[in-house]
Symmetry: C3
Subunit: 473 residues, 3 copies
């Protein structure tokens, strides 16, 4: 027996070594693998449950806060989107940045100015006192004259389109916080990098001191998402490129504690802009120089989405829906995204429907609602209340219905198609109304009278349904 022991020991050594090796690489690999499996399932929209949620991370900056939803949440993986909310204090500036995926921004509160640097487009805003000769700008008595690309006024209720790769900034020139909710379409064709939110900043950076509620892991994640790409460059190379003293570059690359939203020094930023009233009416005609300019430079990038007079769907007893799609805001065709704003009166219902060609990301701007979503597995994946500030995804083809609470319900929905099509079960444009009565009667084993009621009881409503007792005609 004792002779067996050395053999046993040998085997044990072999086992220990292989097991350990496997354990180490395996453990890591398995964890990664589990995550990958889960992520793959989510990205394929095999979803058991939708969970409306609030932002889970926040980045505190000098001039405001950036709040991010957990982009690894199943519902966001399914829709291939990432959502965040920026809160910019008055007289503060969200620093210039760009992203590999297109972004739609809804201005929930406040007002501000947004600028986008579109390469190849002319600087069409000029200050009056400048005299440009041979392209050089002369200053008078220390006052800078300037010229730059168009600056866009944005106000509460606006939807703003930011194409992939375009550097943009936002300045809060109002008296209250500017709150902006953004959704990036990571699965968009424009994004040739990974399915993950990335913002490349030209200035600013992470604050050294994080709020104590965050784990180091979360901090790491934020660092991955937001990056200053200007600082990494060799200072001499940059000095040469900009034809500036290296000390200036060094200051530009310096790390500071301001984060990604900064307070503007002095009494606020002066900027060349036409009178507001003019601007809202103007039809600016710039010189057209080439195809790209025609294509991009003069495209409208914002639309007021909260104008009752321009509602696309309106029911006196139930509310209204406004669309911003490729037909209204042409830039959306290039971005393949769109949005809708819904205002439901108390207890009104959004008809059960499915969106045929897009995922929808709902953000509750006011009030609350009871929502039911039925998934691709034929099971209810959500059946509960949603309330202000929450965000949830209704994947393509999932059937959903919403019933406003006692104080009404307002939402903005971001969609992953520039021409989304909704197919409702109820109302004037419903799938059932399009079918012969006998098809319905035989499908559901109901009488032809009942089938007729099924088709026509709501025939005067579209999408938005008032309470039953407010039954029309």
């Amino acid at each position: 027996m004792a002779k067996a022991i050395p053999f046993v020991t040998l085997i044990i050594f072999f086992l220990v070594s292989t097991a350990f090796a496997q354990y180490q690489t395996g453990q890591q690999g398995q964890q990664y693998q589990q995550q990958q499996i889960q992520q793959q399932e989510a990205r394929q929209c095999r979803i058991q449950r939708i969970t409306p949620s609030q932002p889970t991370q926040r980045i505190q900056s000098e001039g405001g806060v950036t709040e991010m939803w957990n982009e690894f949440d199943d519902q966001f993986q399914c829709a291939g989107v990432a959502a965040l909310r920026n809160i910019i204090q008055p007289n503060c500036l969200s620093l210039p940045n760009f992203s590999p995926s297109p972004r739609l921004v809804y201005i929930q509160q406040g007002q501000g100015l947004i600028g986008m640097s579109i390469p190849g487009c002319a600087e069409t805003y000029h200050s009056g006192q400048q005299s440009v000769r041979g392209g050089s700008i002369r200053t008078r008595q220390g006052e800078q004259s300037d010229q730059h690309q168009k600056v866009h006024r944005v106000r509460q209720g606006d939807i703003v389109a930011v194409p992939a790769g375009v550097a943009h900034w936002c300045y809060n020139d109002g008296n209250e916080e500017l709150v902006a909710v953004s959704v990036n379409d990571l699965n968009n064709n424009a994004n040739q990098l990974e399915q993950k939110l990335r913002s490349f900043y030209l200035a600013g950076g992470h604050q050294q001191i994080y709020s104590s509620v965050q784990s180091p892991q979360q901090q790491q994640q934020q660092k991955e998402t937001f990056q200053n790409v200007f600082r990494a460059f060799d200072e001499n190379l940059m000095a040469e490129a900009f034809n500036l003293p290296v000390e200036v570059i060094r200051r530009m690359q310096q790390e500071d504690q301001r984060g990604f939203i900064v307070r503007v020094t002095g009494e606020g930023m002066r900027m060349i802009r036409p009178e507001e009233d003019e601007e809202y009416e103007q039809r600016y005609q710039s010189r057209r120089e080439n195809g790209m300019e025609e294509l991009y430079c003069n495209l409208k990038i914002r639309q007021y989405l909260d104008n009752p007079k321009e509602a696309d769907i309106y029911t006196e007893q139930a509310g209204r829906i406004n669309h911003a799609n490729g037909q209204k805001l042409q830039i959306l065709n290039y971005m393949d995204m769109s949005a809708e704003k819904g205002n439901l009166y108390p207890n009104a219902m959004h008809a059960p429907h499915w969106t045929m060609n897009a995922h929808s990301v709902f953000y509750v701007t006011r009030g609350d609602a009871h929502v039911e979503i039925v998934g691709s597995n034929g099971q209810t994946v959500y059946y509960d209340h949603v309330k202000q500030g929450e965000l949830f995804v209704v994947p393509q083809q999932f059937v959903s219905s919403m019933r406003a609470g006692n104080n009404g319900f307002e939402y903005v929905a971001f969609k992953t198609s520039s021409q989304p099509m909704k197919s409702p079960l109820v109302g004037y444009t419903s799938a059932f109304k399009a079918m012969p009565i006998q098809v319905l009667a035989n499908s559901f084993q109901i009488s032809t009278q009942e089938a007729q009621s099924l088709k026509y009881n709501r025939e005067h409503q579209t999408m938005l349904l008032p309470l039953r007792n407010v039954r029309s005609s």
Copy 2:
């Protein structure tokens, strides 16, 4: 030595515990991983062998049968398609359903009526006796009047286009079984959900009693594929939405034993339709209200693919090919799919060729053929007979050739592009004919005379080649 034992035991315990833990999670993970690897290889079209196949699963319904090919078969994973065959008994109705991927249907036998609910399109079929005032429909003496969207007559030989997300139904109003073969393009841009066949039914459901030949696993798979999304909704919510008594909804949601194809009660369904002859000639002009209507509402959704007079390729001694592509059937441009029907005379050959921009899914409608397919690995992946009722995939760029058997060969091929381009090696449009003789002579080390024969021996034929001894001119 004895002292070593406790140490050995400790180590063993450690090993046992870690091994077990790994074994459990690992086993599962590894199995999944093996499947994933295999699936990934198949999806990348690294295929060793193509295997023409019959459907492997069947769902029995009251009014017919749904037969499904195994969508996890390598060839279907490569092409990103799923295939099924519906057999609908006379006076039976395939219940309304929609799918996240576009579908082409070939009517192999029989005739029927197909309806599609396209949201936003008008109900353009009205029964004569109705008087619509303020939108309400009045009935006379208990007879329902009705209005609904266009109903399409389909007959043997038709190809029918069903866009993603459009609810549709099919009624067999003929005297024989209606047999319809469908291919869904799961990889299509329209599908933002997973690469898996899914049909969302508005009515009907799985029968409780399955045929005994099916494993529980297969039953589970079928359940995943076909889902009733109407039943999951809260009955009160639905009653409210439809403005119907809750008892009606309850009946509509009731599980029954009818499956997905149901027998129509009474002597058949009456439906508003123009005279058949009229319809086949009509050029219906509806009011155009908006872009979407123009885009979708009036598009033709079917084409007769078996008309010898409209053959695109015809060789007196060899047969004919009819195409349904984006140029002939405009809706296919939106779906990025197309089809072709081939009728080969006995022993005629389909020239060796590759399809430059699409996978092709062949379904044998009649006869048999000898098929050779050469894969991306330069090896023959198929070299054998195919017979009626079998389905096989020829992936993009794989070179294939078919020789009809003694009774001829008929097929329908579904393609994953709306403008598929075939590049044949032989005949009027062949790759070799486009090359200078000296390029061929030097490529193959043959004489210029032989190269000339290579180019011109078949110059009067295109795609379809008669037997050698029927050599033309």
Copy 3:
């Protein structure tokens, strides 16, 4: 204690068996898994370091050499491209082949003739002495007359577009080696097979004797990449298809030692071609027979990219850039690729910039440069010299800058979009110049004077910057 031993032995046996089983399947699986993880990371462009590289593999043929870059290199996985360099000896022919992904070719040296077989397009080049009656070609006194599709003259500096699936060949009719650098866009929509380079040859094949420097693994990889798809076909089937004696087919399918580039027998290939001068001026108008013909048959497939007179960007002190994009070479719109050629004078700088919508594959054609690339992680992923013959990728949105060496720097860059847009940090079209001075001042905490310098110091330059001391005006 001794009693414990059998128990221990049992456990050990269990452990050994499970561990072995796991070891075997696991080892393989884990290796594959590690590779997959790494590949996934690379494909998502989570790149730590870019490494400019030379080709790592070569295939020796009778008439030249095919050199391939390692397509599994992270940078190529990220961009989804594969690169190779063909060197064709004078009077040698690169054999007809096609690929599932579109390809751009830059002619680095020499001249040649390229033919493409586009199915459905007419043979528009006819030899004078032929008399075509009923389509048959008569020969006079043993001299072959011929007709074939257009043959394209290509010369050093040309960029050539080869669409997916189009069979093409190239003949070096000059006196020096023809060197052609090709990039295939594997991620292109046109490619429905795997993300891997594949060339399907109609003739030729691997040489039996490989150079001794290659591992069997490398040889295997090459075999996977380049395949003869003609040889696998049944010889009788082919004889029947081509209506040729089976002995001819047998010779055509015969394996030989010539590889994929072959020496032309005799004193060179005669080919029908217009006078060169004519051709370079001609505007060929063929009969238009259908949409496809209009679409493909008459499209220009080459553009001279090295013409100083047609430079798109030119700075007297710094150099020039020529573009070949969808606006200039329409076929690129169908292929969604483009190219640019840059010629930088000694010590000139290419401004720091990011490409908004495409990956860029740089190939150094002459000279050297110092390159800095900053990645999506905010870190420098490359900061070193690149020299002639090296290839490197700048992924979408990564910010890069290049400074030419003392002998200047010339490159050709292949891009994965037909309309690539570059956003520079410096110069006339820069992101900073588009922003108000105060935005810059506040972003970087610099004075308004410094911000003004930042905007305007380089305002007269676009993309290409001369040395600082050659400061303009």
